[in-house]
Symmetry: C2
Subunit: 492 residues, 2 copies
Amino acid sequence: MASQVLVAANRGPLSYALAADGTLSARRGGGGLVSGLSAALAEQPDALWICAALSDADREAVRRGVSEPGVRMLPIDPEIYDGAYNGIANSVLWFLHHHLYEIPREPVFDAEFRRRWASYVTYNEAFAAALAEEAAEGAAVLIQDYHLALAPGMLRELRPDLRIGHFTHTPWASREFLLMLPEDIRSQLVWGMLGADRLGFHTGEWADNFITGAHLDDATGIAEPFWPRDGQSGVWHRKAPAGNGGKYGEKRFASVTPYPLGVDGDELRALAHRPEVDDKLAALRAEVGDLKTIVRVDRTELSKNILRGLLAYRELLITHPEWRERVVHLASAYPSRQDLTVYREYTESVRELAASINEEFGTDGWQPVLVSVEDDFARSLAAYRLADVALVNPVRDGMNLVAKEIPVVSEAGCVLVLSTGAGAYEELGADALTVNPYDVTATADALHAALSMPAAERADRTKRLAVAATALPPAQWLTSQLDALRAPAPPS
Amino acid sequence: MASQVLVAANRGPLSYALAADGTLSARRGGGGLVSGLSAALAEQPDALWICAALSDADREAVRRGVSEPGVRMLPIDPEIYDGAYNGIANSVLWFLHHHLYEIPREPVFDAEFRRRWASYVTYNEAFAAALAEEAAEGAAVLIQDYHLALAPGMLRELRPDLRIGHFTHTPWASREFLLMLPEDIRSQLVWGMLGADRLGFHTGEWADNFITGAHLDDATGIAEPFWPRDGQSGVWHRKAPAGNGGKYGEKRFASVTPYPLGVDGDELRALAHRPEVDDKLAALRAEVGDLKTIVRVDRTELSKNILRGLLAYRELLITHPEWRERVVHLASAYPSRQDLTVYREYTESVRELAASINEEFGTDGWQPVLVSVEDDFARSLAAYRLADVALVNPVRDGMNLVAKEIPVVSEAGCVLVLSTGAGAYEELGADALTVNPYDVTATADALHAALSMPAAERADRTKRLAVAATALPPAQWLTSQLDALRAPAPPS
C-alpha cells in the first residue's frame, strides 16, 4: 500500500460537503493547477495526495474514516491550522516573499509570532509524519509551496531514503527582506527547504533569490550558494555538530531550478467556449458596445497593484483625452482575505478610486471604469476573449497565470501590458509591453501604445504569447519535476 | 575671490531673522555637524559654504545683498524648493534610502512626480552653477547629501577641472529598492553621483549598496562595480555617445569610501556639563528616583522604530515582571514632519501605544513610560548622563549619532541596545547588545540583559564605546575627505 509518488499541499484535489441528513459527499476542485496535477497523478500507480482537512466537513470525513482513493486528509487541529495558515503562511511568509510590509510598522516578531510559529512547525510536522508513513522505499515526494517550507527537512530526518522535491508558487523574498526574520527562524526556514533534493521556483529570479538568501554560516551549519555549472544551480550544505551527535553532517546538494508553470491551451480554450461563456461574452459586448477594452482580472490582493493600475488609466485619460468615450476599463477585482484590515482598506481604496475616476471623467453615455467584484471565472474568460488590452501590473507575483490565459483565448489579439515584477515576465516579456509597476506614467504610456497598436502586430504578438504561455502545462510541469527527481543524483 | 574649498549643502551654517523694524540679523546654527564643519572650514583660506535660503528672512537677506563671509545663500524659488526638498528629497529619496515605503501603495511615479523631479533638477542646477562660478581652478568641492545627488554630475560638465566629492548622510537604498525608480530617473541619479571623484558614506554597507546599485549598462552609458583592490572600491564608468557628441566619454573612476562620522568628545562633554544640563539632570533624578532608566531620544521619524521599541518594553514587562516598578522608559520622541499624513499617524500611534502601556501596567506610584515630545537638547543630554540603558533600534539609519553621544557623556556606564540597521552598528556593534530591529522578542531580551548587566561590565563597555564613537569627529571627518580629494588620483 506504500506509494511511489506523493504530493503534499495545504489544499487537496477535493473537499467534502455535509448534507442536512448527515451524509458526506466529495467534490473535486476545479481550476488549472489542481485538475492538471490530478490528471498527471492519475497516470502514476499508487500516487497519493496528502492535504489538510480545511473545513468541518473535511474533518468529519476523516473522523468517520471516509476517504477517496489517492487522497489523504490530515485532521489538523483548527487552532494549530489557524496559527500556521493564517498566522504564519499568509501573514508572514506571503508578505515577506511579496515584499508587502509597511516596514515602519510591520513585521513585528514578538511572543505572539513565536506562538504562531510553533503552530507552523506542528503543521509541517503533521505533513512530514504522514509522508514518512505513506512513502515506499525510495519514493518521490513533491511538497508544495510556502505553507510547507519546513516539511522537506523534517521528512529528510525521518526518511533519508526518499527523493524529496519542493516547489514554491510565490516569489522568494530578496535577501534584504529575508534578513528581517529573526535569525533562528530564518535558519529553520532555510534548513527546512534544504532538506529537499530539488527545489523548484517559477522563475530564474526567484531561484536566484533562494540561492543568495540561503547563504548561511552559523551555529546551525554551512550553506553555500552554487551558481550554474553543467546546467545545475543550487546550494551545497552541511549541518553543524548540534544536529548530528558531534559530527558534521554529510555534505549534500539541493538543486534549485526554475519550472515556469504554464497553462493547458486545449483545456483552457474548451473552457472558454462553453455556452455559459458565450452568453457572458454576448452580455459584455452589449455592455461595452464599440468601445475598446482594457481588462484586468485579480483578487484584490495587495501585490496585484490595482490602485496604480487605476491611477495609470486616470493619467491616460488626462494625457490622451482622445481616448475618452472610446475606451472602457473592465476591472474584475473580487474581494480577498477580508478578515485582514489591510486587505479591507485596500479593497475600499480600489472602490473609491474607481468611483472618483468615474465621477471625474464619466459622461451621460460613458462610464470609464466598470468594476466587477464577483469571482466569476466564466465572466473572466469572456472578458479575456473580448479584451483589446490586458493590464497585468503586479508589484511582485510568483507567476501570474492571468497573463498566460489571456493570449490563449483572445479572439482579435490582445496587447499584454505586463509588469517586470510578474514571474510571467521572464517568458512573456519579449512580446508584451513591459512596465515598471511603480511607474504610473510609463504604465499610462504603455496603455496608450497598446490601444494604438495596429491589429496585425497585436495578432502576431498574441500568437507568440500564446505559444510561450502553453510551453509547460500543469501535467508536464509535474512530470518533468518527477523525472528530474528520479534521475540519478549528479556526482558531488 | 575664487575659493579653493567649497561646501554645498541644503542647510547652511547660519540663518537670518527679520526683526519687526525690518533689520536682519544672522544666527549661527548649533549642532555637532554644522559647528564641526564650520570650525574645520574656518581653517581653510577662502572656504565657501553654499546653501539654500530656507526662509523668507534668508531670501530677504539675499535680496538686500546682506551676507556673511564664507557663506553664499541661493535664493531658490519657493515653489521649486518645495518640489525639490519636500517633493523629492524627503518624500522619495528619503523613503527609498530608508526602505520606508508601504509598497502596495507607494511609491507612485506619476505626472506629479515628474513635475517635482523637474524642480529637483532645477535646484541641483542652481547649486552646480553657483559652485562653478565660485570655485578656483582645481578647487576641492564637498557636496552634501541626498538633496544634491545630481549636482556632482552637473558640476563636472561645467567645470571638469574641479575635484568633486559627495557625501551621503542617509543609508543608500539596496538595489531592490533602487530598481523601483523609473529607469531614466535611476540613471540620472546614478550618473549625477558618478560625476564626483570621491563618494563618501557613513558605512561600508551603504558604500557597497551604492556600488552594487550603480551597475548600469544602458543607453546612458556603462558603469561597472569595482570591488576592493589596493584599498580602493568604487565604480568605473564611461558615458554613452548621446552625452558626448557621438564618442564614448572618457573612462573615469569614482571611488566609494566609508567615512563614519563620529562625535567631538571634548565639545560634547562640555555641552553636557553646562549648568542648564545639570539642572535638567537634577529634575530628572527627582522624577525617576531610584528606578532604572531605559532612555531613547529620536524625532518621531518612521525609520526610528519607536513603536517596536515600545512593544519590546511591553514584552519585557510581561516576560520579566520583576522589572515592574523598578524601571522607567524615558522616551523622548519629538514630532517631526507633521505636514505628512503618514508621520502624523505614526506620531499618534506612538502616543497611543505609550498610553496603553501606562494604562495596562501603571500603578499608583509608577508610570512605566514617560514620553517627552519637546525637542530639548539640554534635557536629552541630561537623560544621556542618567541612562542605565540606551535603546537605539532604528530599522535603517545612516549613522545615528545618539548611539555615539550617549556613551561619551554617560556617568555610571550605559548599556547600548543597538539595532543592526543603524549605521553606528559597524563601529559600535562589538560593545553593544545588538538586535534585529524587527525582532521585538529579541529586543525585550536585550533590554533584560542590559538591565541585568553588572556595573563593571557596563562601565567597561561604555568606555570602549566612547572611544569608538569619537574616532572620527566632524573636523577630522571633513579634513580627511578633503585630503583624499586633493591627493593625486590613482593610476587607471
